[in-house]
């Protein structure tokens, strides 16, 4: 079951500073560089909850990396929220020592990755730093959407893959069936899959042996200029920015000066170390090794993941390919409910953005909502978490406007010349349709795995969201369906709907595929005859009436009755396509009010009045802040 966790909580975790990871005592131990043949680097990947972090625990424990008394479940999930929820948010790297059955001592660098679809970027970049993957599959569940997605990432990264069938202690475990599924659905050889219980420790030794024997050693040259991959970075209150690196060639030494090739900045390396999983300082890291450096860097923004780090002089000529940066795909406006809190909001957003390079923002003004920010996020979950943090940590109540994607608007040209292309982040900025030639919208490829009995509902849902079926295959009683869908139909409440129509049994993964032209229009919403720009949205022309009706009906329920009746309309250009009327409030009066009731009633009215402040006035109409999001939810 994939969507069983609260998205807000998940992203929140990502955004948590990892400061406390470094707070534990810092040991200074002299480790010697390891020769390449005795290094194995791998990531542990799986669908959410299939047991990656628990497997990492056993590997850490079996190799004596952490003493038994310091051991705890999902040791690497060190952030408070990770622990609270029993889930991994940030990838974590650990270096362990293992003496194999052949008598040789190996250094293993494992990266435990998050399983949730929203953290796909985290997984794929981790994979760039290693040569192999342990593909964990819960043998009581089987292959799920992220299992597949992770395999594709691993293949992309040219990884050797070792399948691990986990949770064999469970009665429902069925290794034969799952091995068959892996071969059928994924197409990799599962004959040597290791049967493991990360809970009891069964199969852990075999796993370690398999890592040593099946995964390739890294390659690299010691006598070469430094070439290191900047895998990740985060801010630590004590040490400044911590940079996770994979050394490709050469040596990274404490005290040296290095150059970040993307922007040619120079830094003095003041610490070099590895995670075991606590930080251990060492003097240098050699080819094939994974560790960290600090260099008095103040801002995460000054480090670019995927960058190449080399010597300040006579460094490597050729930079690594780099990673595609994580691009915000979902945009919405954030406005303070109380417009006098705009400056506070600016400060909050500035601070949050410091440690989160994937979150973008710029100032926005709305006729209806005043000053706010147009913000970009990796996904809806990211959006909700940032919003939640602003509200809770900075105590600013927010109005969130309809999430939107980036449309490509092509204007009509003159004299046969093609017109200008506009990236439209905000439907409110949509130019006049008569000047628009055509509009393109982003599409995704969605992969959904679902038990047979829910397939019909899933197909209907995808169809309703303008999906084009690309593939449908079966593995036993599970169907795998691939759809080409418009991102804007998925961005908002698709997950919730999928979860509810499949009772949580479907798993889902998607990736962006590109832009395609379609018949898109801007739908505006008028409340009491006044347009509310924050409610306007881009819709497909064929679905406009339906969306407009749904929107008006929802708003009718969400807006409290007023002392007068309120027309609510949806319109395309000047043409009204849907209309509802919210009838006037007819009775709201306290029947009995005598001497003793004065105090009580005053308190009540004051409370109600405070409640009114949570609404925003549009003309004479108070619209509750949650209406801006709730109005968009579709029931089908």
């Amino acid at each position: 079951m994939l969507w069983h966790r609260n998205f807000v909580e998940l992203i929140e975790l990502i955004l948590e500073s990892r400061a406390h990871l470094t707070k534990p005592r810092i040991q200074i131990i002299r480790l010697t560089m390891t020769d390449l043949a005795h290094i194995r680097n791998f990531s542990i990947v799986a669908h959410i909850d299939h047991g990656k972090s628990t497997l990492a625990d056993r590997l850490i424990q079996e190799t004596g990396t952490v003493k038994d008394r310091d051991m705890k479940e999902q040791l690497l999930d060190s952030m408070d929220i990770e622990r609270e929820r029993g889930i991994t948010i940030k990838a974590n790297t650990v270096r362990i020592d293992y003496t194999a059955d052949n008598g040789e001592a190996y250094v293993l660098n494992l990266i435990d990755t998050p399983g949730h679809v929203d953290f796909a970027y985290e997984v794929s970049r981790s994979m760039r730093a290693v040569e192999g993957s342990l593909l964990v599959v819960d043998s009581s569940q089987g292959v799920e959407a992220q299992t597949l997605a992770n395999v594709y990432h691993a293949l992309d990264a040219d990884h050797e893959i070792v399948p691990v069938l986990n949770k064999i202690d469970l009665p429902a475990s069925d290794c034969d069936r799952v091995a068959e599924q892996i071969e059928d659905v994924i197409g990799i050889d599962a004959s040597e899959a290791i049967q493991v219980s990360a809970k009891t420790g069964q199969g852990i030794h075999e796993t370690l042996e398999s890592i040593v024997t099946h995964l390739p050693a890294p390659q690299g040259t010691l006598d070469a200029p430094l070439k290191a991959m900047l895998v990740d970075s985060w801010y630590d209150a004590y040490l400044g920015v911590i940079v996770l690196v994979r050394i490709i060639d050469g040596t990274l030494k404490k005290g040296m000066r290095v150059k970040f090739m993307s922007n040619n900045t120079l830094h003095h390396v003041d610490r070099v170390g590895v995670f075991r999983p606590e930080m251990e300082m060492i003097d240098s890291l050699g080819p094939g090794e994974i560790g960290f450096l600090t260099a008095s860097i103040k801002q995460v923004r000054d480090t670019r993941v995927g960058d190449t780090i080399t010597n300040d002089r006579n460094g490597t000529e050729v930079a690594l390919d780099g990673f595609k940066p994580a691009q915000p795909v979902v945009f919405c406006g954030l406005f303070p409910v109380d417009s006098s809190e705009f400056e506070d909001l600016r400060e909050a957003i500035d601070k949050l953005a410091l440690n989160d390079a994937s979150f973008s923002f710029e100032m926005e003004t709305s006729a209806a909502l005043g000053f706010g920010f147009r913000c970009g996020f990796l996904g809806l979950l990211h959006l909700e978490v940032i919003r939640d943090r602003i509200e809770r940590e900075y105590d600013i109540e927010l109005i969130t406007t309809a999430p939107s994607v980036i449309y490509h608007v092509f204007m009509k040209g003159k004299d046969g010349e093609p017109g200008e292309k506009i990236d439209l982040h905000n439907p409110a900025d949509m130019p006049d349709m008569s000047k628009v030639d055509h509009i393109q919208e982003p599409r995704i490829k969605a992969t959904i795995l679902v038990p047979d009995e829910y397939l019909g509902d899933v197909l209907k849902l995808c169809q309703d969201r303008r999906g084009i079926q690309e593939n449908l295959t079966y593995a036993g009683t599970r169907a795998m369906v691939v759809y080409d869908l418009p991102l804007n139909e998925v961005v908002f409440d698709f997950y919730d709907r999928l979860k509810s129509v499949t009772k949580g049994y479907a798993s889902f993964d998607y990736q962006m595929t590109g832009y395609r032209e379609d018949n898109l229009v801007k739908m505006s919403v008028l409340v009491n005859d006044e347009p509310v720009d924050a409610l306007s949205m881009m819709v497909h022309r064929d679905r406009a009436e339906m969306r407009g009706r749904a929107m008006c009906e929802k708003l009718k329920d969400l807006i409290p009755r007023h002392m007068f009746k309120i027309p609510i309309q949806a319109a395309i250009g000047g043409k009204v396509i849907a209309r509802e009327t919210l009838s006037a409030l007819r009775k709201d009066v306290t029947a009995k009010c005598y001497g003793g009731d004065a105090t009580r009633k005053k308190k009540l009215l004051e409370k109600q009045k405070a409640g009114k402040k949570k609404m925003r006035q549009f003309g004479k109409v108070d619209i509750p802040q949650e209406a801006f999001i709730s109005a968009l939810k579709m029931d089908s």
Binding site: M563, L585, K587, A591, A598
Partner: protein, 385 residues
């Protein structure tokens, strides 16, 4: 605002916290008790009166109100003692109104003459419904016939007898209510209190409502229709509304309740009683201990008053607005302004006038008929922060 209260007059409220049975809709401070030592209550009331009189010397007392609970369970001697003491402490107005709330049981009716002799000159009787089935649903322990008998006894003893009805009851239709109201008007003398049933938290009805077990309540629109019909029918019968739920022949309005709505001063004694008192140029809100026995103990030890809060003039302005707009005659904006640090913003007034919720006439501001039906919403617009 040393003498603002004089715009509303000065009254005394006496709370009697006992009833024969607890009604399932009622959240008043009322309790069922086997043993009531009337003399202990007399002593306590008299102590409280003395204490409050010392803080408000020399005033003219306009009204006394015995409320409850069921004050018709008080012995006439108890009522007499309180009235005599009050007359001794303050200057009784010539036309002092003395009301007693009565339940329409036969036992009570037997005491009416005694109350009259003690000085009571007005009865407010809780009849609640004019059909037996609904009385039962409301948990009332009397029948319509008994109520009518009690009412007849009362009107033989008193010139002024009002009664209460609760409407928008379970399974009641607009037509039912219209018929019942017409019947009530044929009985009425000069005053009627007509309350829409309110589901209060912490009552038996409240609990049932919360779990969805209180069925058949009229929907809001029907309740609104009932309210509007009530206004018209009473007006046509010569008993127009002078307050949200109170109707009277002009001149027969309850003087005591108008002290509240005109935001005068009032002493409140007895368990849970509230008061508003202007002392040394400051206005205070007072509250008394809720629990009857505790109140008795506290009075004997020191005072029954549990809370005294000084009201800022802005609070007073808001209370005046809130109470005053309940009256058909509305409020005096000059008086409001004298109390308030800020006048009611023009744009809000204009807006409310524009949508037909209030009317302005010189310095008078009043809610229209439509405005009174949604008075809470109107007040929310007008309350000054």
């Amino acid at each position: 605002m040393a003498d603002d209260w004089q715009n509303g007059g000065f009254g005394l409220y006496v709370h009697w916290p006992f009833c024969e049975a607890k009604c399932p809709y009622c959240d008043f401070n009322s309790h069922v008790s086997r043993q009531i030592d009337q003399s202990a209550w007399v002593d306590a009331y008299l102590l409280e009166l003395e204490r409050y009189a010392a803080q408000t010397p020399g005033r003219v007392l306009n009204t006394i109100f015995f409320g409850g609970g069921t004050p018709s369970l008080m012995s006439p001697d108890t009522v007499d003692a309180v009235i005599q003491a009050a007359r001794g402490h303050w200057h009784a107005a010539n036309d002092m109104e003395i009301t007693l709330e009565a339940n329409p049981g036969s036992v009570e009716a037997g005491r009416f003459a005694g109350y009259r002799d003690a000085g009571v000159n007005r009865i407010s009787m809780g009849i609640q419904a004019l059909n037996d089935e609904d009385l039962k649903r409301l948990g009332r322990i009397h029948t319509v016939a008994e109520a009518q008998k009690a009412f007849d006894v009362a009107r033989n003893c008193f010139d002024r007898v009002s009664f209460d009805l609760i409407y928008a009851r379970q399974h009641q239709t607009l037509l039912d209510w219209q018929a019942e109201l017409k019947q009530a008007l044929s009985m009425a003398i000069d005053h009627l209190s007509l309350y829409q049933l309110t589901i209060e938290q912490g009552t038996a009805f409240g609990d049932r409502y919360a779990v969805g077990k209180l069925r058949g309540l009229p929907v809001d629109d029907t309740a609104a229709d009932m309210y509007m019909a009530t206004q018209e029918i009473c007006e046509d019968a010569g008993l127009p509304a002078y307050e949200i739920s109170n109707h009277a022949k002009p001149g027969s309005e309850s003087q005591h309740n108008q002290v509240y709505w005109r935001y005068g001063d009032y002493v409140g004694i007895g368990p849970g009683a509230h008061g508003r008192l202007t002392i040394n140029e400051s206005k205070f809100a007072t509250e008394s201990f809720l629990n009857p026995n505790n109140w008795l103990t506290q009075v004997s030890e020191n005072t029954g008053e549990s809370v005294r809060t000084q009201l800022q003039t802005q609070d007073q302005a808001n209370e005046y607005l809130m109470m005053g707009l309940r009256l058909t005659q509305g409020i005096d904006m000059e008086r409001f302004q004298a109390l308030s640090s800020a006048p009611i913003p023009h744009d809000r007034l204009d807006y409310l006038v524009d949508i037909g919720m209030v009317e302005q006439d010189g310095s008078t501001l009043k809610a229209t008929k439509n405005g009174r039906a949604v008075l809470n919403a109107v007040i929310r617009e007008l309350l000054v922060d």
